[in-house]
Symmetry: D2
Subunit: 307 residues, 4 copies
């Protein structure tokens, strides 16, 4: 339930205001050099966004990674890589007002319905803070894939994050259920506040009457097809062209003027603003989108080698 992947697997743990956030990566090959500086940069992108502004979150997380296992003298051992980041800047008292009520547009209500018991502080497990573990693991996946010539690029446009993956060889993905596009969609929709996933060169490629990408002539073109409407995947399997997809996210829902919350007895009450929150998280999303894409590819590339 808290594990992503079958071959290159990430299991995450941690509540927003608990002792720590962390994860265990299982299935990373032995002998990969860990570049801690690169991982630090990726965490910085998550914390401050690609285009830092006064709008982004005010949480001053140290994000110091403790490596617990799986690395010996700077290289992976092939055994599970466990890591954690302690939660230091926790003003849990800010959340006392939310102890017995559910915010609109958050997961407070559904967690209570599912588990009957929850950590109300800072969203508990259902907090953006959980993406720290995704970014650390994604950074390791990127390093692993970089050696195979695979790279990840993304940009924000009209709140549509667009991601391009270069260097994927033809043949990645399985034909029926375990399609590469289905796995990418699964990974992206697992990001908090993700609402839509679209394959293709442009977000509306799929509406074209002449959707089929025509072959380039023998020796006359340097790419397989003239267009890339399909976004690099045919029949669920990569064709060697760039993989292109778009992910839509809804806006942050924490209201600066406070909000009307639902109590356990179904009555409503107004709750004043509290805690940390983002007015705009869009510049922080690209690194998370790329991280989930990297985890997906690291998992499925293994599947392909399998044959």
């Amino acid at each position: 339930m808290n594990t992503f992947g079958s071959n290159f697997k990430l299991t995450t743990f941690g509540e927003s205001h608990g002792a720590a956030i962390g994860g265990v990566i299982d299935g990373c090959p032995a002998g990969v050099t860990i570049d801690e500086a690169f991982i630090g940069q990726e965490l910085k992108r998550r914390r401050e966004g690609d285009t830092p502004s006064a709008q982004t979150t005010s949480r001053k997380e140290a994000d110091n990674i403790e490596w617990l296992s799986g690395i010996f003298q700077g290289k992976t051992l092939g055994t599970p890589i466990a890591f954690m980041v302690r939660n230091n800047d926790c003003r849990s008292a800010d959340y006392e007002a939310l102890k017995n009520c559910f915010r609109p547009g958050h997961a407070d209500y559904t967690y209570q319905e599912k588990y009957g018991y929850r950590d109300h502080r800072g969203g508990g497990r259902a907090s953006g803070r959980e993406t720290v573990a995704r970014v650390i693991a994604g950074a390791i996946a990127k390093q692993l894939l970089k050696d195979q010539g695979i790279s990840f690029h993304s940009s924000v446009n009209e709140f549509l994050v667009t991601c391009t993956i270069l260097g994927i060889p033809a043949g990645v993905g399985e034909p029926i259920f375990d399609r590469l596009n289905a796995h990418l969609a699964f990974a992206q929709l697992s990001i908090p506040s993700a609402m839509s996933f679209t394959m293709g060169e442009t977000p509306s490629s799929w509406q074209l009457t002449d959707f089929a990408d025509q072959w380039n002539d023998h020796g006359k073109g340097d790419t397989l097809t003239r267009t890339n409407h399909c976004g690099g995947i045919q029949g669920g399997i990569s064709n060697g062209m760039p993989i292109i997809f778009h992910v839509g996210f809804h806006r942050p829902v924490t209201q600066p003027d406070g909000m009307i919350c639902r109590n356990e007895d179904a009555s409503l009450q107004h709750v004043a603003p509290h805690g940390r929150h983002d007015a705009d998280h869009s510049s922080r999303l690209p690194v998370i989108v790329e991280s989930m894409a990297a985890l997906t590819i690291a998992d499925l590339i293994n599947l392909k080698n399998n044959r």
Copy 2:
């Protein structure tokens, strides 16, 4: 690879022009009455569409189901339910011209790259014919869920299939990776020619500035929230409101005037029209979308009972 689900599992098999198309359902509880008439109607929706027209496929498939196991005196045994539909109307010779070349916009090229060996007739495994098994299994999942008050509805609009699921209780779905929306996206993107997946009351709900669905006042409203922008899922878990999502499909790519194919040596050639094909498959899609949604819910509802 050819299995969908973890608890209510469907494994499918069969090539378009092989002996048969079929599947094995594992995890269906014992004692469920099988309504063969309903399954037949669902297959008819797949074959002829919800609004039959001269445009839909000309393949006259008998679609006679042979039940091989798991059913005794009209009820499920709790053991695997195996079924198959023989492929009778196979004019395989029509496909000889395609033996050594790859059509544009199809999976011919990617299959060859992945496996190095393929059945070129009628798309082989990568044929819409494979969805027969999904519809049969989906119909069984619908019967199972109907007893729990869950129903599936869909419609076609501007080539956007919209699907609504009624009766899902609060608490279905897992919070981090195994979110209900992520599983729905995975299931829908596994349908041939699916290109996009969007959650929410309207396809552009997620772009709203006031995205958060406000609670209905205690005793004054009969639904949990006033709007349903989130489409019934918060933090990956159902909240008890209707589940609403949209799936975009590209148009069929088989060209009536023939097409430019790529040979194994990368040269191009013109190939004349051949075999069966759809000019428009949109009216056939709703039953497939609903079937995949039903398989997803049957699988995850079990997960929920699990706790």
Copy 3:
């Protein structure tokens, strides 16, 4: 539940007196030539035993295999291989007396407790007949592994089946939970009437005071170690020596003089002999033990290639 393996996967279906027994193999590479004569010989070993005698079962099963998918022009396609064997010689009426009672030493009672509904004829799903699917799939796994120089050998001694696997390279198996010996034990204990599993050159190797296998000197021996007490596995991973293990089975429990059965109301009754049964099934066991070993290795060798 009815699937064995993660990479080379077998899903079986069928009740003893239902329409058919069969299976679906998912994960078999493309291009493997299917030797139907060899598969027929393996089924003959299952039916008649390695040393046929008047004691072995009298069921004259035709065991004609129908291939439903995954094979094209005699070679595997890399897609799911579905097969079935119809149940022809079913004297179901023989079992009417057992409809409402539970035999001692059989699974009648536990199935009823678990599912609340069962096919009482010939043991239903809990019949030795289900091993037909295991032997067919095992024979395909053997063909696949033969190309890699791996072979399976077994013999019966004091009702202890001993199995030796030759040609396994060092490095197969995972260190902590997914140990090669643990997977072999899981596979063997899944055979009906299996009761014990023991690793090692001799069944009591593990009781030795000097258990550690000493290394052969550099250049002086042609095997890695002087002895093979550990049976070719250290720390859960193969070391390149022959893999040796032993499986103990209890005797068939169908009594020729009839038996005391338990009714649903917990009262007892005497039931006269009925149906087909084995007085001694030991000579039929080796091919089943080898088949499960071959399925295990085909599944884990894939895992190894994965790295």
Copy 4:
């Protein structure tokens, strides 16, 4: 690979001389009270054995558990429970002599063959120290199952650990591959140095001519059957009688007088005694056997509720 279970899942991490040993439990229900004193007692059984003697290991591990997530105000949240125990008493220098050579009877050689890179200190990942995580998770599983009336008991006899599980209702286990006995065997054989697994009231039950356990007469006996030769499992499913099985372990292989090791160039050398080791670990095994049994039942009981 480092995960045990499908519903109640344990993922372990850590090398013997790395920063920490730990694990993540996923799938534990919300609201379970954590009894830290009981967990401490179980760890003490692992450290000192049920019958402490001068023979048992001299490692003075503090075994202080740090809880990282999943517990709030003394109760489980239903989210992943992460924990770790730091490795304090590591005299890694003791192992320098073993850096480039492989001990007989250990996993040094197979790890090197598999990964090409290893942590040579104290066995690295292939150390008995890894069982700390199993015992902590097993203790939590025991607490969860205790509420359902299920308890675990074991004893050592002639180096055969015998384990009895009381309170398992009829119907646990799946019929074909996922049999309860197969899962128990898988779990037990995953314990370092386990060599054999046997079901049944006595270790040689399965050799009896009259193996079938006869039913107790209606109202005259308080147990289902008169004997329990099958050890409480029929057709892979529990029948409600006590579950009884036996696990055989080989003796510790670290020799007090030193040993002949194999170098990477296949030459041999004598290495003097080093580090910590056990002369006899038998009294420490019961708690590990029980822990793995508890993890198995916690995982499969969930599966059963699933229906």
